[in-house]
Structure formats: structure tokens, C-alpha cells
Symmetry: C2
Subunit: 373 residues, 2 copies
């Protein structure tokens, strides 16, 4: 870490000073995504800063093309002529443990890829499923996982239409890894994207954060913390459909804050759109059990993964309508307006803390919770 991440200034002068520091940092960040490492570390899979370094240092330059370079969760394109527009996405799931409170790797693999299509404004249609199985894996467990996938797909009205299975020797994988790619029908004209944020937009969050990450963490560590925390894994296509019905293309960006959490996801948007995002800490919903577990474990809920929440960036004048529409939906009852978009300092996210201070909210650095999804 070569930049400050926490400040608690109390006066206007101090705030100015912070803003100057921020501006300096921002300049530095522009050229920051390069890869110093010689070997893969767990933090390259965190979804945070190291992941970005890996993507920008290896994948993006090799594969560069206009569709990939947008770096949204799905690529959208026209196949022939101008319509239909399609969305295409992929995600691999390596979560450990495979079964956890509120779900399993199968539900996650279906919901995650549905949500990646939804964030592009697409209607999810078809999924592929690629399995890597470890020799010795119990077929009864595989049946449970596949059953979960089938059930989740049915609930969401999508179909698994093509698949593949590979097996590797004992000790060369960890039970089962699943890749799901997805194809969806994109909206003919509306195209939300992380480069579409504008000053004056509001930031909505569909409910309390950190449930998935903490549920996994507690399942994994068998800590003696007694909680009822369950993964929030859920498909968000009907929530977004209800939202779109209410405010249409006033929705500028949708993103599910999975790996890296709300902090990382908003940083990606701010960088991509060259804007600043200011959050109000007190407005961000967090279940008390999650907050408690985070305090004990030394984690920030803003960097913890969610699997059934949506961040929505909507134009300021439509924010209240969007809020009302989301709150009417079972998966959005606790939706809150948590912040707003401003023109500068470009590429930065900051948090007005409960105690009246301000701190820069950076992407996740390191990986406190490897294999969260």
C-alpha cells in the first residue's frame, strides 16, 4: 500500500488538505494497475486491487477488443444487423465449503451468472455448466449440487442447455468447481454500464451487506460465534425488471457487489466513469450479526461479498421512484439510498463516517476471505 486510506479530518481546512491528497492519489492511481508479482497469490482472486492488477497486466492487453474493454460483468453485442442485442457472461465458482447456510455452490453458480446478465440490463435465457470434479468426490453430493442448480434455474426461468464434465486426480482440485456462462437478451436501447455514471446520480443498495461473506466465513472457520447469518444468494432479475418498469433508462448502472464488496464495486464505477462517489456510512444497511462478526474478525462489511444484492445508480430526479419500486419487491424491501455521484475528485470513493469524518474508501486490498464464491 503506497497511499493513505483513512483520514478523520474535523475542519474545513483539514478536509481541503484531504482533498488535495486525494487528487494526488487519484493521479497516481491512473497508472497503478500493473503487475509486480511473479507468482499467483490468493489476493489475485479477491476481486479487489490485486485482481485488477492481474486483469490489467495480463488478460486485458492480450485479449483487448471493444466488447471486453468495457469490463462490465457481461459483454453485450448485436449478432446480426441491429437486433436482437445479446448479453454473454461467464463466472467460475470455487467456494469453500460447498454447502453453507442459505445455499450451496450450485445455487451460487446459477444465481451469480443470472445476476451478471441482469447487470447488463439483459433478460437471462440460457446457461452452460462446466464441472471440474475431483477423483473420489461423492456422487451423492454431486447430485445435491446439480439438483440445486436445476431448482435455481427453474425458479428463475432459465435453462441449462449445454455442459461439460472433467475429472482430475485426487489432490488436484477441491471437490467440485463449476463454471457457468450465460446468454441473455439485452434491451434494444437501454445499456447500463459502469462508465455511465453522472454527477447528480444517486446510489441505491437493495439491502443489508456482508451476509454471504460472513455466512461462508463462519461456516468455514467453525468459530464459536452463534449467529443466524445466512448467505443472501438470490437471482435479481425480477427486482431489476420491477425497477426498470418504474424508472426505465434513468438507471445508469447496475452491479451486484460480489467479491470485493460494495467498496470495490463502487471504486470500479468511479474509475470507469471518471466521477467521485460519496457515501453516507449511516445509510448503509448492515445486519447487526454481520456487523458484530466483522468487528470480532477485523473485517470491513463494505469489502465483504454479497450474492443477492444490487447496487443501482439512477439519475437524481428518479431516485425516490426507484427506491419505492425496489422496496415493493420482496428482494428489495430494505433498499436504501446510500450516496450520490459527484464530478470530482474523479475516480475516488469516499465515506462520510458516522462520527462526521471522511475517509477514502479504497478497493479491497489483500484477500481476507479467499474462495468466497
Amino acid at each position: 500500500m503506497d497511499e493513505p486510506t483513512t483520514h478523520n479530518p474535523q475542519t474545513a481546512g483539514q478536509i481541503d488538505e484531504v482533498l488535495q491528497k486525494i487528487e494526488k492519489t487519484r493521479q497516481a492511481r491512473r497508472h497503478k494497475f500493473y503487475l509486480r508479482d511473479e507468482k499467483i497469490t490468493l489476493s489475485h482472486g479477491s476481486g479487489g486491487k490485486s485482481s485488477h492488477n492481474l486483469i490489467e497486466g495480463v488478460f486485458a492487453p492480450a485479449f483487448s477488443n471493444p466488447l471486453l474493454d468495457a469490463m462490465d460483468d457481461s459483454a453485450t453485442f448485436n449478432i446480426v444487423g441491429t437486433n436482437p442485442r445479446l448479453a454473454f457472461t461467464t463466472d467460475t465458482y470455487v467456494v469453500s465449503p460447498l454447502f453453507f447456510p442459505g445455499g450451496d455452490i450450485g445455487r451460487l453458480a446459477v444465481h451469480g451468472t443470472i445476476n451478471d446478465l441482469v447487470t447488463s440490463g439483459a433478460q437471462p435465457l440460457y446457461l452452460s455448466a462446466g464441472f471440474i470434479l475431483e477423483e473420489g468426490f461423492p456422487i451423492a453430493d454431486l447430485r445435491k449440487i446439480v439438483g440445486s442448480m436445476a431448482e435455481s434455474a427453474k425458479e428463475a426461468g432459465v435453462f441449462v442447455v449445454t455442459g461439460d464434465t472433467k475429472v482430475v486426480q485426487r489432490g488436484k482440485a477441491d471437490g467440485v468447481f463449476i463454471n457457468t456462462a450465460g446468454v441473455g437478451l439485452a434491451h434494444p436501447t437501454w445499456q447500463p454500464g459502469q462508465n455511465r455514471l453522472q454527477a447528480g446520480d444517486k446510489v441505491l443498495l437493495s439491502g443489508p451487506i456482508g451476509d454471504h461473506g460472513i455466512a461462508i466465513m463462519l461456516a468455514r472457520e467453525a468459530l464459536e460465534i452463534e449467529t443466524e447469518v445466512q448467505s443472501d444468494t438470490a437471482p435479481l432479475h425480477t427486482l431489476v425488471a420491477a425497477l426498470f418498469a418504474a424508472v426505465g433508462d434513468s438507471i445508469h448502472c447496475l452491479k451486484d457487489p460480489t467479491r470485493g464488496g460494495v467498496a470495490t464495486t463502487l471504486n470500479e464505477m468511479a474509475l470507469s466513469s471518471d466521477v467521485a462517489i460519496a457515501l453516507d456510512e449511516h445509510a448503509i444497511p448492515v445486519h447487526s450479526e454481520v456487523r458484530g462478526a466483522c468487528e470480532i474478525l477485523g473485517l470491513d462489511p463494505l469489502t465483504i461479498a454479497n450474492e443477492g444484492k444490487m447496487l443501482v445508480i439512477v439519475s437524481g430526479e428518479k431516485a425516490d421512484e426507484a427506491l419505492a419500486a425496489m422496496r415493493k419487491h420482496p428482494l428489495g424491501r430494505e433498499t436504501a439510498i446510500i450516496g450520490s455521484v459527484q464530478s470530482s475528485p474523479e475516480g475516488m470513493v469516499f465515506l462520510r463516517t458516522d462520527i462526521g469524518g471522511m475517509r477514502v474508501l479504497d478497493m479491497l486490498v489483500g484477500d481476507p476471505l479467499p474462495r468466497i464464491c
Copy 2:
């Protein structure tokens, strides 16, 4: 194994007897794809009989829908109205070693998915790439693999438009695993498929078999066999385009004989179309180095994986034109007509051997070469 696989009858009476046995076996096979195993074994990843048992016992019933049930290499569907038809496929690559004579996991991951689209008569357009990386994997190796993928994609005119990277702890994977899913533009009317074989069709094979499997085997085992065998990994879209230009929808089925080899692939077709396939052993091209290595290793070239060959089933009257068209293409110079389709015994593949006998050619049983692709 509960059925005979080899016969060397010399008289008409003996052949009749064999045909009766075949008929009995065929009846038994109809109900044979069930899963007795409690744990995953390497042979569930062979692409052969155990893989089919796993697919029919776990995946197919859970996910059943008309697109999946066709069990072709890609699913094809219309997104809106009647056009365009799309093809969608997925494949995961776990080959070991990652680098081998003639290619690496990156080239394989691009070529394999292109070829799965091509077998559906589709023009490959877009790929996704999902990586599972093991902690400690050298980034220099990752750069080489990603460079190979980018080069292969460019050569074939396809684009990697979306991706994902996960990292697992040391000892929980084996260097790198790659999933590529692919989207292609299917032909509006022509739809080759493994259920479309008809009596009188001819079986064409685009060149010598077994190169990929043997190259991997020799690279892996570091046997003291000195050969020049290289993987045949190649994208076959231009070969198929040339073939289609010559004979159009007289092409009833295309399939690249990867895992399980020519024997398994043709068995799948025979079962799906309720026909028999008769092969002439002497007509099947095999490089002498591959034949020699197979003899030493006790392997049958007909069950060894290929990554740049195509099996083409074409109506009898167009077979010579198809042969000529394929031979004109650099990747089809050694194309041969290796057999024909007949109406019975349904679901069976047999081989007229060089010594004048006949043997039932079954799917691959067990897995002599795990992690071949």
C-alpha cells in the same frame, strides 16, 4: 464389461452368430446408462462409457430440456422470432502437462470451443474465458498461456469478450484450469446433429488419428520413445466452411473426435440415430509413430483423443465431392472415407479388420489417458 467386444469370425455362419449376439447386446445397451458408482473416478472424465453413465445418471435428468437433451456439442436456438439461430457451447480444459509438443492449454481451450460450435454448423463469434489459478502459479507461464489464447483467437477471427478469474490455495488445483464457452451464429436452416445419420451415408475422417493423445502421453510419461508426434490441435471452421460450400446440407453430422476418440464419437452417433456404422480398418489413417506408440502402450488409436480432426457424415451420393473438397483444404489433405452407415444393427459400430474379421467397436471403457484435454 458385460458384453463381448472382439470377434474374429471367418464364415458367413459365424458372422450370423455375431450379428445375433450384437442384436442382444444392442437391446441390453438401451438400458445401460445408469450409474452404479458412489464416488467420482477418473474414468468419469474419459469421455467414454463412464462419462455417459454420469451424464445420463446425474446431469441429464436434472437439467432435462429439449435443447440439452439433443446432447450435441453445442445447443442451438432462436433468440427472437425465427432468425438468427445461435449456437452456445462450453468446455473446460484440465490438460496435463500445460505445455506439450504442438500446443498448450491456451490453444486447446480456444480451438476446442471453436470446434464445438463448428460441429453445430455455426460460425464461431465470441468466447468467454474462465480461469482457475493455483496459488504459486508462475505469472510468466500464465502470460504464455493467455498469449496463446489471444493468438489462436485472432487466427480464427473470434473474440474473447468476457472473462473471470478465481484463485485457489496451493494444492487445491493443478496450475491452471480454463473454461471457454462460445457463442456462434448457426445456419438458418442447416442443422447437422448426431441424430441425423441415415442408412447409405458415408463416414469421412479429416486425417490421421491419435496424434493429440499420444503427444500428451509421451510428454507426460517422459517415455524413452523418440517420436515427432505433435498435438493436432487446430480450429476447423474454415475446413467445414469449404466442405459446406461444396455439398451443403448433405452433411448430416459433424463431430470432432476428442475424448474417447473416433470409437466413442461414432458410438454416440449410432445410438442417437438408431443406425449402425461399419468402418474399414484399413481405410483409417494413423501415423506410423502413433501406431507404434499405441502398440507399445497397449492402446487402441480409435479411442485416443484428437483435437484437430473432424468426422463428417455425408449422404452417400455426395461423399466423393465432400472428400475432394476436404482434401483441397490444408487441414483436410489426408481425409479418407472410412466407413458407411447402415440401418441395422441399430446403435452399434463395427470394424471390418485388416485380417478380414469383424469386431464390435465399443465406446472407450475406463480411462487410459486422464486429463487429455
